[in-house]
Each structure stands twice: as structure tokens, then as C-alpha cells.
């Protein structure tokens, strides 16, 4: 997802991942990567206090 789009849409809170369109939570069947992204996003849900918060994920696309 393009970070500029997130900044323009302004959802209440967002986790930005450096993943291609069509794989927002990670590659197919890579459960650990998917879980890590989801955990990151739930952390943002719980911890964000400012409307429009965007947190950049450090989860990497596996080689």
C-alpha cells in the first residue's frame, strides 16, 4: 500500500507495511510474517492516541 494514499485517506489509525499490493499481510502461507503484521496492527489499535496515526511496520518481506 502506498503510504501517500494512507496519508491522504486518513484512517483513524494505520500500520504501513512495505509489501506489494495484493499481499497486505505478507506472502501466501507465510504464517509467521502474517501473524507479525497483525500483531503490529493490533498494537497500533491499542496504543494510538492521536487520530490519523500511521506506524511503519518493521516486518520484512521474506526472501
Amino acid at each position: 500500500m502506498n503510504r501517500d494514499i494512507v496519508a491522504a485517506v486518513k484512517p483513524p489509525r494505520a500500520l504501513y507495511v512495505h509489501f506489494p499490493y495484493g499481499a497486505p499481510l505478507g506472502p501466501a502461507v507465510e504464517r509467521d510474517v502474517q501473524r507479525a503484521v497483525i500483531r503490529n496492527a493490533l498494537d497500533v489499535l491499542v496504543s494510538a492516541t492521536v487520530p490519523g496515526t500511521i506506524v511503519e511496520s518493521d516486518v520484512e518481506w521474506p526472501d
Binding site: M1, N2, D4, I5, A7, A8, V9, K10, P11, P12, R13, P20, Y21, G22, A23, P24, L25, G26, P27, A28, V29, R31, Q34, R35, I38, A41, L42, L45, V46, T49, P51, G52
Partner: protein, 162 residues
Amino acid sequence: MLSTKLQAAQARIRAQWYPHFTWQLNESAPWAPLARPLAESTVALLSTCGFYRLDQHVPFDAWNPLGDPAFREIHIDTPVDRLRIAHAHYEHEHAEMDINVVMPILHFQQLAAQGVIGRLYPWIYSFMGYVPEPQALITEIAPQVARRLAADGVHAAFLTPC
């Protein structure tokens, strides 16, 4: 003021799909704090990846230059082989191989079983994310879904975009 990337995307969409497309730039973010601990919260899944149920739904009008602002309700127990994608604006490879890439049902069922979340709401709201004229989506359709979720006691929505 559009960023360089958004300007380029706008030009591409105008050239290839819809000549009047203009990005909707929101001035502020809506906000509601999480009302209770996550472990006591009901979480709903939403997606803009174009999934629909082939034995119950009409597919999204994926190739329409004006997009399709409607949604499809998909139960979390729907057999995966009943689901298809109607969305012309992203590569489907990963989503077709593993639905959890865009609709993380398995993960959220596990999170509920582990007590990380209180409950997974049993209906997923699936949209098709190409909507170049979003007014009906903004003023009618999305509020309809929000009201439904609120009435059913949902505390948070997890949206995966495509």
C-alpha cells in the same frame, strides 16, 4: 497538495480508466478510542480486495471505469472454494493461494481462542477498492456498514486494503 506519487497515480488512472478521476483528500481522521480492553473486544474484518461468494453474490463490477462501491457480506465459515475475487487493480496471486493474506480469518480465530481478542465478528465486509467517485460510498454505504457493526456490538474493525 498532492504528492508526486499521488500525482503520478492520478495521471495513470485518468489515462487508463477514468479521465475525471481526482484523489479524495480527507482533511481529518475520524476517531473513537478502543472502548474496552482488546481481550474483551469484538473485532470485525473488512477488506477492499474484491472477494465475493460465487454461489450467493453477484461479482463486483470490477472492470467498470467508475468502479463498484457496494459490499458483500461473507460469513467467516464460508468454504474457501466458494470465494472468488472480482478486482482488476491488483495482482491476485497471493490472495488466491491463501485468503488469510487479505482476509485473516484463521489468524483472528486463533487470536480469539488465545484470548488476545474477545471475539471475531462472524461477518466479513468485503469491498472492491477501486471507487474513483466515492461519494455514495462515503455518505451512504460505509455509514450503513458502520451502523450495522455498531448495532451488533463490534468494538474495532480491522481493514486490509488491496
